[in-house]
């Protein structure tokens, strides 16, 4: 079982309190009705599956209820760090298979994360 640091509660808690929520930093395309079926399939189904560092979302579901992001090694399962939703992707050496970051002007807004990171 993992010990996970919730960046909102500021505490290490048992994995039982958390729900894994898949890849982090996936932004819903702003023009979702206009994109092609291929683009939609990529956005909706394709996820990183590296053997190494992964950027993923977790939710402290039996604690503060908030979503946050984490960097974890998928071989040792060790958490490198956790950080709050909406904070930029930390610049660690990217794992193989991770898409290169888009130039700033073409980058869609991460609306999902910005609104969902907060339990109100």
């Amino acid at each position: 079982m993992l010990l996970i640091h919730c960046p909102y509660c500021g505490e290490d808690r048992s994995e039982l309190e958390f729900r894994a929520a898949g890849d982090a930093h996936i932004a819903r395309p702003a023009n979702i009705a206009a994109i092609s079926d291929e683009e939609f399939a990529d956005y909706f189904f394709l996820r990183d599956n590296p053997k190494g560092l992964i950027y993923e979302r977790w939710r402290h579901i039996h604690g503060c209820g908030r979503f946050f992001n984490a960097v974890r090694d998928t071989v040792s399962d060790k958490f490198v760090m956790t950080y709050k939703a909406g904070e930029p992707k930390p610049d660690l050496s990217p794992a193989p298979g991770v898409a290169p970051a888009l130039p700033a002007d073409s980058r869609p807004v991460e609306t999902y994360e910005a609104t969902e990171g907060r339990a109100e």
């Binding site: 079982m1 993992l2 994995e15 039982l16 729900r19 894994a20 079926d37 291929e38 399939a41 909706f44 189904f45 394709l46 996820r47 599956n49 590296p50 053997k51 992964i54 993923e56 974890r72 998928t74 071989v75 040792s76 399962d77 193989p96 298979g97």
Partner: protein, 417 residues
């Protein structure tokens, strides 16, 4: 290859068993093959066997980074059944079940296929509705599956607690009598022996590190720990590592790798006659011919290649097993392990062509692909030989994530299956 038979056993008994030969040869790789299969599990070895047997393609190598069957083939709980909900699934799993029925004879190798029946417990009204829907769909499609009352379930599997005061009461069960188990290692070894006999090279302890492609984008071979090996066609069947292998050819597929655990008890006298699965409380159990109770647990909730799995997952499963079968409360567990399963969003496999010419993929069998081994291998060989899928696997292509024609067994079973 010298045939195995009762006469062979008698002959060897007379001469101190000195005449048994190696089951397969271990040649040095050639510089070039017609087909390379990456991954020496049951699916990959089986595909090589059917390429040689049914398509006359014998210049084939299976490249395995560890030992044969050291992946999920040798780590699974060997449940075999074909009572899935959707036609695409029924097609492939039933094709496979039919091949299981004759596999020991076909390979001249005892794979110990044992149709002892797979019983799925229903604990509430939702379960019984879902199982009856499966039963009707299966029977309309010509696949056996029947509904049992709690008393009939207890008759079929006496250790079951069907009392009203049980923590997880049972209101019926679905039974597929032709379902059962097989010996996991024997499947890999039997295919390896039969493939090697037909000229296939089985190359162990050789890891594929890169996939090379020509100017036209088509594959030309693989870089391995034993150097470059050329190939006209490549089939990838590396289960939990499929994403990593496909990334070598810049192919991304909707796969996530998760640890799945199993554990076995100390050996007991025969006590458990069939396979029992409970999706709702998430536990499945059978007894091996050695006498161990074989118990399957769930997957970890996150991506991982750790081949271990969280302790709370097996604890949860053992809680459920002890409630369903109180007589097992004091049985000791002997070993626990994990395997890395590759899971798709709809929990159905992907078998088909990839965007890279002459690169074929067999993946996404996830937590339930052992039962599919002969069928999947048979159809994968067809795909590689002909360049297009067999009719029975036509719905399993990657395209379904674009068209939306998913095979949503995940929703149908709501559990690892």
């Amino acid at each position: 290859m010298r045939k195995y038979s009762v006469f062979a056993v008698a002959r060897e008994a007379m001469r101190a068993h000195k005449g048994w030969e190696a089951q397969w040869t271990s040649p040095e790789p050639r510089s070039q093959y017609d087909v390379i299969i990456i991954g020496g599990g049951g699916h990959g070895l089986g595909a090589a066997y059917y390429l040689a047997k049914e398509h006359g393609i014998t210049n084939v190598a299976v490249i395995e980074k560890g030992w044969l069957g050291g992946g999920n083939t040798g780590r699974n709980t060997t449940i075999i059944r074909s009572n899935y909900l959707y036609e695409e699934s029924m097609d492939i799993y039933e094709h496979s079940l039919k091949l299981w029925e004759g596999l020991s004879q076909e390979l001249n190798y005892n794979v110990m296929y044992s149709p002892r029946g797979v019983m799925m417990l229903s604990h509430n009204i939702h379960d019984s509705q879902v199982f009856k829907r499966h039963i009707h769909a299966n029977r309309l499609y010509g696949i056996d599956n029947e509904w049992l009352t709690p008393e009939q379930a207890k008759d079929y599997c006496p250790p079951l607690d069907i009392s009203a005061s049980a923590r997880y009461p049972i209101n019926g069960a679905a039974l597929q009598r032709r379902g059962g188990t097989a010996r996991h290692d024997a499947v890999a070894w039997g295919y390896a022996r039969a493939a090697s006999d037909r000229g296939v090279h089985v190359i162990q302890n050789c890891e594929v590190k890169a996939i090379r492609r020509g100017p036209d984008g088509a594959v030309t071979g693989v870089e391995t720990t034993k150097g470059f090996i050329g190939a006209k066609k490549i089939g990838v069947s590396a289960s939990g590592h499929n994403s990593m292998v496909l990334a070598m050819a810049d192919v991304r597929l909707p796969l996530q790798s998760n640890p799945l655990q199993a554990l076995v008890s100390e050996p007991l006298k025969p006590i458990f006659p069939c396979v029992v699965m409970s999706n709702t409380v998430h536990a499945y159990i059978s007894q091996s011919d050695k006498g161990e109770l074989v118990i399957g647990a769930g997957t970890d909730q996150f991506n991982s290649y750790s081949q271990t799995g969280g302790l709370q997952i097996i604890t949860h499963t053992l809680d459920a097993i002890c409630e369903l079968f109180p007589i097992f409360r004091r049985v000791k567990m002997m070993r626990q392990w994990g395997g890395i399963t590759d899971n798709t969003p709809d929990r159905s496999p992907i078998q088909g062509v990839t965007p890279v010419p002459n690169l074929f993929v067999n993946c996404g069998w996830g937590t339930g692909g052992f039962k599919a081994t002969p069928g999947s291998a048979h159809l994968f060989a067809h795909l590689i030989a002909r360049g297009e899928p067999h009719r029975l696997a036509a719905g399993l292509t990657l395209d379904r994530f674009r068209t939306g024609r998913l095979i949503d067994e995940a929703a149908a079973a709501a559990v690892a299956h």
